[in-house]
Amino acid sequence: MSQGRLIPRDRSAHPVAYDPQYKTSVTRSPSLPLLSLESTPTEETGPRFGHSDLGALDHDLIRNWTKGKAEAIGERILVHGRVTDETGRGIPGALVEVWQANAGGRYRHKKDGYLAPLDPNFGGAGRCLSDESGAYAFFTIKPGAYPWPNRGNDWRPAHIHFALSGPCFGQRLITQMYFEGDPLIHRCPIAATVKDRGQLDSLMAPLDMSQARPLDHLAYRFDIVLRGRRQAWFENRPEGM
């Protein structure tokens, strides 16, 4: 039995496109409805990435900017979890790409001019492939909160950006991981674009002492669910018949 169409997206699981509290979304959100259709091979195929695409330190943001010569400043953490689909199956070989601010809340990006200094030993980007069970892990430092121009005094909670690529281009997802207990999460208009409280909770990674290493690093767990596919029971027939 082969795999069938992608499971149609449940848009209530996701943020609203237009949210006046997140001001940039006001002019960048489509005002007409999306055209919803069954997926085709265009969405059901996608680029494949292999271990030969990745460098040995790509998963280690503490050391990858200096190629292992020096370590980044900040609270050392392991971020790990599983990438599964909506049916609960692990997705092996998923490309997990992350980027984040440094411990002071500054991004190493030509457009970030926040007054917090760059850490000469921190780049802020990492990537890895999930293993056979869908598990992935990174070493990094906990990013700092930072202010941003939106309402009069908005601050982003500490967060790590995640970009996920499964086997299908239609599964592509970008999201942000927050840290359990951060009081800025519930003041953040970007987090608040997710209207379903349970879904917003699913972006908050709990402290996971089972994976923390004594005298070295703490750990946070962040599981990720991508779109799934139906089983192809009787699908080789024209649509609607």
């Binding site: 960048r28 007409l32 265009t42 969405e43």
Partner: protein
């Protein structure tokens, strides 16, 4: 009580933010050398079969202002309509590209081969097209759309045929400019709003 239906909900999207290039296109962000190999630098390698084309355009917001911080990913079939990774596909076509907006011209450029028509398992045929996924600050969930070509047969395409307002089909069609160059602007909102897909 009925049996319990176990299913997981997709992780919610969040905006890619203004610094998405740091993670996905580090050289563009000013961090050349962060990775030995950046992914999605070109959808084609030397020797790719078919017509090499260049598609340029802008991403415009609801006021008509061009975005400079967007990042776009593209995915397409080879010149024979086969997706990379499937049987018989052109090994010189990876089909995948990441591109950003030039800060001076506020334009993106995608250099690739013109894809072929794609046959579906049920016998229908999709006209030549390139799938796009657009992310930026202020876009809370990546936007899916497609580029079709004015100089290719599009009559039977199963996606285009489902667009009710026929004049909106034009928003998905790249216009030839000569010498293999095409124009394709993306309007996020307002007059001429691009048809975005949920597929």
């Amino acid at each position: 009580m009925v049996q319990k239906l176990t299913q997981w909900r997709e992780t919610p999207s969040q905006t890619a933010g203004p610094y998405v290039h740091l993670g996905l296109m580090p050289t563009w962000a000013g961090n050349a050398g962060a990775y030995e190999k950046e992914l999605g630098q070109s959808p084609i390698a030397e020797g790719a079969k078919g017509e090499v084309i260049e598609i340029a355009g802008q991403v415009l917001d609801g006021t008509g202002w061009p975005l400079r911080d967007a990042l776009i990913e593209s995915w397409q079939a080879d010149a024979a309509g086969r997706f990379p990774g499937t049987e018989g596909a052109d090994p010189a076509v990876s089909g995948f590209c990441r591109f950003a907006i030039d800060p001076e011209s506020a334009e993106f450029t995608l250099r690739t081969v013109k894809p072929g028509a794609v046959s579906l398992p049920d016998g229908r045929v999709q006209s030549p097209h390139i799938a796009l996924w657009i992310v930026a600050r202020g876009i809370n969930m990546g936007l899916q759309t497609r580029i079709y070509f004015e100089d290719a047969d599009r009559d039977a395409d199963p996606v285009l045929s489902r667009i009710e307002q026929r004049d909106r089909v034009e928003t998905l069609i790249a216009k030839p400019q000569g010498d293999g160059r095409y124009r394709f602007d993306i309007r996020l909102q307002g007059p001429g709003e691009t048809v975005f897909l949920d597929m």
